[in-house]
């Protein structure tokens, strides 16, 4: 029997799931539940899974977006972004400090950098606005999720940026 544990993150919640395969049978364990056989089918050209749970059929649309196990799912009209990775990878990431808030403020939508509100060397607190990005005529102010010191600012006002581009890098304070 091939058995593998996955760690799923959604918002701030973490869930574990075990998938066990034995020949043609697949079993699933969600959270603290039991490992039980699961009825499921990959459908819609691999873009959805039809799965039976609690007597109901659920159609879960799934799209892998980007690397690192980021998955967009829709269930019953509700779109949800999850990250899914196997346990080993999750542990490796955690040991690298991936569990803590990142000191890098990155663009989340494509846009133009309009204003940079901090300078290198400046001390910032959680929630301080650091950079303003304009997209579709809306200005979006991005704030820092850590307390620390501005280490570098790889962009300038007027630069076009894509999702994931680093805008401001902050060296977190120890315990910050």
């Amino acid at each position: 029997m091939l058995k593998k544990k996955y760690i799923l993150n959604h918002d701030d919640e973490q869930h574990g799931a075990v998938i066990a395969r034995d020949g043609s049978e697949t079993q699933v364990q969600v959270g603290d539940g039991d490992l039980t056989p699961v009825n499921f089918r990959s459908v819609l050209n691999g873009k959805a899974i039809s799965i039976r749970f609690g007597g109901q059929l659920h159609l879960v649309h799934l799209t892998g977006v980007g690397g690192d196990g980021k998955v967009q799912a829709t269930i019953n009209g509700r779109p949800i972004v999850l990250s899914v990775m196997d346990e080993l990878k999750a542990q490796a990431l955690e040991s690298l400090g991936g569990g803590a808030a990142s000191g890098t403020i990155a663009a989340d939508i494509p846009g133009l950098v309009v204003e940079i509100k901090v300078k290198p060397g400046q001390r910032v607190k959680v929630g301080d606005p650091v950079v303003v990005v304009e997209a579709m005529k809306m200005q979006n102010e991005l704030v820092t999720a850590v307390t620390g010191t501005v280490a570098s600012i790889p962009v300038q006002p007027g630069d076009p940026v894509n999702p994931g581009d680093a805008l401001v890098i902050i060296e977190p304070e120890v315990g910050g």
Partner: protein, 505 residues
């Protein structure tokens, strides 16, 4: 006038697609225009011809009348349909098109100009007997005059720039002591923003409903109305859900408000399709707000309940065929709701989103219409309005329309940009929406961005977690085709699932 054989559509996105479909339905050849980032946009793919008109920014492409007109001449189009936004209410462009000997499918420049000037249109409407919000019809510069008017109509009042629009150039004044500084500021802003510092005073109607009436005019004084729409579900002064008919009007009020709209259009011998917007006060009084001299985003709800084709009607009027409907033949059947699908995040103050359409499953079946500007694989550009598509749902009555809308919204899958489909599902569950009592402050008052999504029940959550883990497990074991797995052939997916969904029996 001769029938058009080729028409240029001076727009993009879902409205360009809808107009192209309407023209195809009349057997008319279509010409699209497109900017740099719209080379593969849906409206380009659907048109018979397409002309490149410049870089992505609208003021270098879709807003440049010269380029659009040149494209029409080059392709031999006899007429230009402007859609909404962009050049649709630009009097200079309308004039330029007519001067070039082509037909602008819409009103004359003069009609746009009188309706674009709030003071001029107020005066015109008052003279025609259409109710306007109590206040002045003249620009006010002296705070004393403003205070005197406010005392007469009662506080709060609104200072409004005559050339303003889209929620800009307005300021609420709640007492006399605020008047002088508010007037100075509003005039300053109006001068800076619109190049015209004329400001006037009117009563501020709190918590109103937004009701509008669709009209068609032939340009010689004949006007019919095609009933009202209610558009009170708004965020950031922009409509997100519209319905036809309105749940807020008694038959008598409906008749009055529709007649007022006809009067409005008759007063300027209106030509083409237009929308007369009213605010409906909590006390049941309604007032002329403004007239939009173009096809409206939400025109499909009117089409669904009245069985009309407003694009065809516009083209026929422009061809000189007159209005293709007689007032006495127009009737309301059933109820229609429109949901604007925006690439925006309801939980982050409706901030726009963007990106590639990774997965798209449109809803199907009875009562469902989709007007769309996107397809799977399309990169939503940053430069324009974030509206992707409109879902329009018809039902025999409002209750069925709501129930069908829930079904259609749940059938609708879109992955890629963050979008507002969950907002629509939220709205359909709210008591103020269900009973029709919602006003323009509905979203502001009732919407809690942090907690608007209902909790998923345990089974659903478990199903989601199990499905995502299975998806990942299949993605990772898919040999040599890691990143593309989600788009790969389904045979890769079935390796041992084939026998697992056994029956219950």
């Amino acid at each position: 006038m001769k029938k058009f054989t080729k028409v240029l559509v001076a727009n993009r996105g879902e409205i360009a697609v809808r107009i192209i479909q309407g023209l195809q339905d009349m057997g008319i050849a279509t010409v699209a225009v497109y900017s740099e980032v719209d080379r593969t946009a849906l409206h380009v793919l659907m048109a018979d011809e397409a002309v490149f008109i410049g870089p992505a920014p609208a003021n270098e492409s879709y807003l440049v009348g010269d380029k659009v007109l040149a494209a029409a001449r080059q392709t031999g189009a006899q007429a230009i349909h402007p859609g909404y936004g962009f050049l649709s209410e630009n009097g200079a462009f309308s004039r330029q098109v007519e001067d070039a000997g082509l037909v602008f499918i819409g009103p004359t420049a003069e009609m746009m100009e009188v309706m674009g000037d709030k003071l001029a249109s107020r005066r015109k409407m008052r003279a025609s007997g259409v109710p306007v919000v109590p206040g002045t019809d003249e620009a006010v510069t002296d705070p004393k005059v403003a205070v005197a008017i406010a005392a007469e109509v009662g506080y709060p009042v609104l200072l409004k720039a005559s050339a303003g629009g889209g929620g800009k150039g307005m300021r609420v004044v709640r007492k006399a002591s605020e008047m002088a500084s508010a007037l100075r500021q509003t005039m300053g802003e109006a001068g800076a923003s619109f190049g015209n510092d004329a400001v006037f005073v009117e009563k501020y109607i709190e918590d109103p409903k937004h009701i509008e009436v669709q009209v068609l005019g032939d340009g010689t004084g004949n006007v019919v109305h095609v009933f009202e729409r209610e558009c009170s579900v708004q965020r950031r002064h922009q409509k997100v859900i519209e319905e036809c008919p309105s749940p807020s009007l008694s038959p008598q009020l409906r008749q009055e408000i529709c007649e007022a709209a006809v009067q409005t259009a008759e007063a300027i011998n209106y030509r083409g399709a237009g929308t007369v917007e009213f605010i409906l006060a909590p006390n049941g009084e309604f007032y002329f707000l403004e007239m939009n001299t173009r096809l409206q985003v939400e025109h499909p709800v009117t089409e669904m309940v009245s069985g009309t084709d407003l694009v065809r009607a516009m083209v026929m009027i422009a061809q000189g065929d007159g209005i293709c409907y007689r007032q006495e033949d127009l009737t309301v059947r059933g109820w229609a709701l429109e949901f604007r699908l925006y690439a925006e995040d309801p939980s982050r103050n409706f901030a726009p989103s963007i990106g590639r359409i990774e997965a798209l499953t449109p809803p199907q079946g009875p009562g469902v219409r989709l007007d769309t500007g996107i397809y799977e694989g399309f990169d939503v550009p940053i430069h324009y309005d974030p509206m992707l598509a409109k879902l329009i749902v018809w039902g025999e009555d409002r209750e069925q329309a709501i129930a069908r809308s829930k079904r259609a919204l749940r059938e609708f899958t879109l992955h890629g940009p963050v979008h507002n489909l969950p907002f629509h599902l939220w709205a359909l569950e709210q008591p103020a929406f269900v009973d029709g009592s919602y006003t323009t402050s509905f979203v502001e008052t009732d919407f809690d961005a942090e907690n608007y999504l209902p909790e998923l029940d345990t089974d659903t959550t478990d199903a989601l977690i199990a499905a995502a883990a299975l998806f990942e497990s299949m993605r990772r074991t898919d040999p040599g085709n890691d990143s593309a797995a989600s788009n790969g052939p389904s045979s890769n997916w079935r390796f041992n699932a084939r026998r697992t969904m056994t029956g219950n029996r």
